[in-house]
C-alpha cells in the first residue's frame, strides 16, 4: 500500500529533485571565472620551469653540473658550459628546456644540488608555435609573461 502510494506520487523522483534544489543556493557555486579570476595554485605546484638567478648580483645560480639533464626521463634539458680561461671554472653558457616534451615530474628539480632549476607556480605556458615551447636561458631566467586580459 505504502509502495503504491510512493509509486503514484513519484516520491523517489521528488527526493532526488530536492537534492538538486538544495544545491541551488549561491554558497554552493564552485565555478572559477578563469581568466578573469586566476586560480591560486599550491606552493609546491609543478608548473613552468625557472632558472633562478642570484638577486644580489644577477648572476645565475646554475653551476652547469648537468645533473638535471641526466635525471630527466625525456632528455629534454641541454646544458651548455665553457671553461673560463682566467679562473679555470666551469661557466654556464646556454640552457635549453623543451617544455613541449616535459611531463612536469619534478625529477630535475630534485636532482639540482643548488636549487637553481625549479618548477614554479606559473601554469600558463602555451604558445602558438612548436618552437615557442622550447625555452632558452633568457626565457627561463625571466619567466613566462602570460597575457593579462581587461574585463
Amino acid at each position: 500500500m505504502l509502495q503504491l502510494f510512493k509509486t503514484i506520487f513519484l516520491v523517489d523522483l521528488f527526493q532526488g529533485l530536492w537534492v538538486t534544489l538544495r544545491n541551488q543556493h549561491p554558497k554552493h557555486i564552485v565555478t572559477e571565472q578563469y581568466p578573469a579570476q586566476r586560480p591560486k595554485v599550491a606552493e609546491r605546484y609543478r608548473g613552468a620551469p625557472r632558472l633562478n638567478i642570484n638577486p644580489e648580483n644577477n648572476e645565475t645560480l646554475c653551476i652547469g653540473c648537468n645533473l638535471c639533464a641526466l635525471a630527466c626521463p625525456e632528455n629534454l634539458i641541454v646544458v651548455g658550459t665553457a671553461r673560463d680561461k682566467q679562473t679555470n671554472k666551469k661557466v654556464l653558457t646556454t640552457f635549453t628546456y623543451d617544455t613541449s616534451r616535459c611531463m612536469f615530474c619534478g625529477l630535475c628539480e630534485d636532482a639540482c644540488p643548488v636549487d637553481a632549476l625549479e618548477l614554479t607556480q606559473d601554469f600558463e605556458i602555451a604558445s602558438y608555435t612548436r618552437e615557442g615551447a622550447i625555452w632558452d636561458r633568457q626565457l627561463l631566467e625571466e619567466g613566462p609573461k602570460p597575457t593579462q586580459y581587461q574585463f
Binding site: T7, D12, L13, Q15, G16, V19, T20, N23, V30, V41, A42, E43, R44, Y45, R46, A71, C72, P73, M103, F104, C105, G106, L107, D110, L119
Partner: protein, 369 residues
C-alpha cells in the same frame, strides 16, 4: 533466393572509437538482431604508447612518472604498485611514516576514481546531475594532491623507497575536513540515484556476471565483489601496512550493474574509514628508506599486486643488474575486466550496452598502455 542486404536480419554496427559513452577510444563492433545484441568485439589500441617498452629505455627511477599515465584517474595507485615492486626487488621497505602517508593518498585516490566513475556512469545512463556533484567533491581530493606534491592528476607522489615530499603543514586538517564533508555527500548521491525508479530499472538485472564467470575471466575489483566473492587484496595479501586498519569488504550477491554501483558506493565509505584511522596515527620519522642514489637492483624478478580502484593491479619487474629494467610487465585491471564485456552484453539491448561498458569502469590509457 539470394539474400540481399535488405533481407538480412543481422546488422553490424560500430560503436566508437569516438563515442561519448565508450569512455575514451574504445571501439566496439556490435552485431545486432533488431535492438538485441548478439555479439560484440572490442577493438583496442588507439591509445597505445608502449609504456612497457619505454621502461626498458629508462632508469628505474625515471620510469616512475610514466606509470601514472596508464590509469590516469588512479595515478597514485599505479605509482604505489610500481614502487612496491621495485622495493621488493631491491629488498628495501618504506619507513612507517611513508607507508601511512601512502595508504592515505591511495585511499583518497580510490575515492577520486570511484567519483569519476559514478559521474560518467550516471551520465551514460542519463542522469546528468551527479556528474557536477562528483566533480566538485573530486576537486577536494585533487587539491590535497596539489598541495602535497604539486600535481593534480599525474602526481608522481611516491618514490622508490618512500616519499620525496614531507607532509605540508595542514595536511591532517585538510584530510579530516575532506572526510567530514564527504560522507554526507555520498548519502546525497545515494538519495539521487539508489531509489530513483529510472536508475533502478536501467541497472537491475543488466549485465549479470556470476562469480564463476568472474573467476573464469580473471575479473577482479568491485566487479567480483558484486558477484558475492569476498576478494580484496588489501585483506588477502596486505601491503603497505593495510593489516593495521579495520575495514570491511562490501559484497553483493547478484553481480548485476546495480550491485556493482552499490559496492562502489560502499567502498568509498570504507575508504573514508581507513583514511580516518590512518590520519589519526601518522608516526614521525624519516620518509625515505635506505635506497642508493644510483639504483641498481640485484639480478632477479619480483611481482607485486595491489588493490587498485578498478581491481588487481600487478607489476612484474625483471632486473638484469643494470641501471634500466630488463622488463616491466603490467597486469592492468581495466584490460582484464574488459574481456567480460561480451559475456555481459549478449542478449541485452543497445542501450544496456552503454550501461555495461560504464559499469566495468575502464580507463583506456590502462587498457592500451
Amino acid at each position: 533466393m539470394a539474400q540481399t542486404f535488405l533481407d538480412s536480419t543481422e546488422l553490424v554496427l560500430n560503436m566508437g572509437p569516438q563515442h561519448p559513452s565508450t569512455h575514451g577510444v574504445l571501439r566496439v563492433i556490435v552485431k545486432l538482431d533488431g535492438e538485441k545484441v548478439t555479439g560484440t568485439e572490442c577493438v583496442i589500441g588507439y591509445l597505445h604508447r608502449g609504456v612497457e617498452k619505454i621502461a626498458e629505455n629508462r632508469t628505474w627511477v625515471q620510469f616512475a612518472p610514466y606509470v601514472d599515465r596508464m590509469d590516469y584517474v588512479a595515478a597514485v595507485s599505479n605509482g604505489l604498485g610500481y614502487c612496491l615492486a621495485v622495493e621488493k626487488l631491491q629488498n628495501v621497505e618504506a619507513p612507517p611514516r611513508a607507508q601511512v602517508v601512502r595508504v592515505i593518498l591511495t585511499e583518497l585516490n580510490r575515492i577520486a576514481s570511484h567519483l569519476l566513475w559514478l559521474g560518467t556512469h550516471a551520465l551514460d545512463i542519463g542522469a546528468i546531475t551527479p556528474l557536477f556533484y562528483t566533480m566538485r567533491e573530486r576537486e577536494g581530493v585533487l587539491t590535497i594532491y596539489e598541495k602535497y606534491c604539486g600535481a593534480r592528476l599525474t602526481t608522481h607522489a611516491f618514490r622508490i623507497g618512500g616519499l620525496q615530499y614531507e607532509l605540508y603543514e595542514d595536511f591532517e586538517t585538510d584530510v579530516k575536513a575532506f572526510c567530514d564533508d564527504f560522507l554526507p555527500k555520498v548519502d546525497e548521491y545515494e538519495e539521487l540515484l539508489s531509489t530513483n525508479r529510472m536508475w533502478v530499472d536501467r541497472l537491475q538485472g543488466v549485465g549479470i556476471l556470476t562469480a564463476a564467470d568472474c573467476k573464469e575471466y580473471g575479473v577482479t575489483g568491485p566487479m567480483i565483489r558484486a558477484a558475492g566473492v569476498k576478494w580484496d587484496l588489501r585483506k588477502a595479501q596486505p601491503y603497505s601496512g593495510y593489516e593495521k586498519y579495520d575495514f570491511e569488504i562490501p559484497t553483493r550477491e547478484n553481480g548485476d550493474t546495480y550491485d556493482r554501483y552499490i559496492v562502489r558506493m560502499q567502498e568509498m565509505r570504507q575508504s573514508v574509514r581507513i583514511i580516518r584511522q590512518a590520519v589519526d596515527d601518522i608516526p614521525s620519522g624519516p620518509i625515505m628508506g635506505k635506497v642508493p642514489k644510483v639504483l641498481k637492483p640485484p639480478v632477479g624478478e619480483a611481482y607485486v599486486s595491489i588493490e587498485a580502484p578498478k581491481g588487481e593491479l600487478g607489476y612484474y619487474v625483471v632486473s638484469d643488474g643494470s641501471l634500466q629494467p630488463y622488463r616491466v610487465r603490467v597486469r592492468p585491471p581495466s584490460f582484464i575486466n574488459l574481456q567480460s564485456l561480451d559475456r555481459m552484453a549478449r542478449g541485452s539491448l543497445v542501450a544496456d550496452l552503454v550501461a555495461i561498458i560504464g559499469t566495468i569502469d575502464i580507463v583506456l590509457g590502462e587498457v592500451d598502455r
